[in-house]
Symmetry: C2
Subunit: 183 residues, 2 copies
DNA sequence: CTCTCGTGAGACAAAACTGTCTCACTTGGC
DNA sequence: GCCAAGTGAGACAGTTTTGTCTCACGAGAG
């Protein structure tokens, strides 16, 4: 009877990922509920977006925690992170494109926390000699977000297979497109 | 006296990149003209978006042509492409996030043409042994778009230096984050 | 100077979206 | 069976955005 708030957020995210300018009615329909009920759970469109942002941050932090970024090789840690973050990729793809979130006075503190932790991973990799030092941790972090968004979208569009999601991102980000010389 | 349509499109793109949900009035103000004049040049919001899409495709095709993708090594051709496409990065960043363009019956044929040409570059690199074959050309093409968008946004936000734009994208896409063994 | 073209400013109605409310219905617990 | 909570459907006003129109202004060509 009662609507599951978490599942509602995921439906909303899926719909908004498909069409960022979806109206409250479209979001409600896509979630299989009426607009009235959607409004009962979220005061308004803005509140919905904020809740999605909150959920996204929460899931990313959970993924970062689960990936244990400071254990083992940096490349392996990055692979774990991508693997852990995969379930949240759709939501993340939406949030990344939602520049509405960043135009205000200041962005959500949660993103900064995540940026710091992920950038620290790249920095660790650079200091250990595992990663190259001519690409800044800030750019690598940004690129990670971008690739996750691109991959989520490409899978959604059927341009690439969903099962390859984390492999494609990790391999491209870590190893690049160039063929390695066998060593 | 008369408004330069091309420059108008660029102002509009810049404004819409900053805030995708800008109203016609905001776009007009940002371009230094009145809403009435904006409407004289573009029948409506939809027409404006379509014109931007057209411009984006046009610029990308020009970049692809100028990059001479079938000459020399694939990696160098890719570097040329990124260099050539840099001026259009802002516009491209907006178009990539404008999923409105892809939800309709069918996407603009121009994108398909571009996809084919860029994917062909990656395929050529794979066949020549220059690029690895476990990442599909489709994914590499998608990743290129994503990285261009991320980089344009990161530069706009001041997170990375604008002068490093093409270097960052090319190096990451081609070589990845991993440190190469000196050969 | 005069005429014309493009523009800015503003008015206006129509449309779309939002937020709120009411009412009837269903579901599940008691 | 009865009640309470949650829901769907729809109505409603308020707001925002859109698209169109008119009119006056100013620059540039003749």
């Amino acid at each position: 009877m009662s609507v599951d708030r978490d599942q509602l957020l995921r439906s909303a995210a899926a719909q908004l990922t498909r069409k960022g300018s979806s109206t409250m009615d479209e979001v409600a329909r896509a979630s299989g509920i009426s607009r009235a009920t959607l409004h009962r759970h979220f005061a308004g469109r803005d509140a919905l977006i904020r809740a999605l942002e909150e959920l996204g941050i929460q899931e990313c932090e959970a993924a970062v925690n689960a990936a244990r970024l400071d254990e083992g090789g940096a490349a392996d840690a990055l692979r774990r992170l991508i693997k852990e973050i995969e379930p949240a990729a759709g939501l993340l793809a939406f949030l990344v494109t939602e520049n509405q979130l960043f135009e205000g006075d200041e962005q959500h503190e949660g993103w900064s926390r995540l940026d710091v932790r992920i950038a620290a991973l790249f920095k660790r990799g650079q200091e250990s000699g595992e990663f190259r030092i001519d690409l800044t941790p800030a750019w690598l972090t940004e690129a990670l977000y971008g690739l996750i968004g691109s991959a989520a979208w490409a899978v959604l569009e059927g341009r690439v297979a969903g099962k390859d999601f984390s492999y494609m991102i990790a391999e491209l980000l870590i190893g690049g497109a160039q063929r390695r010389v066998e060593s």
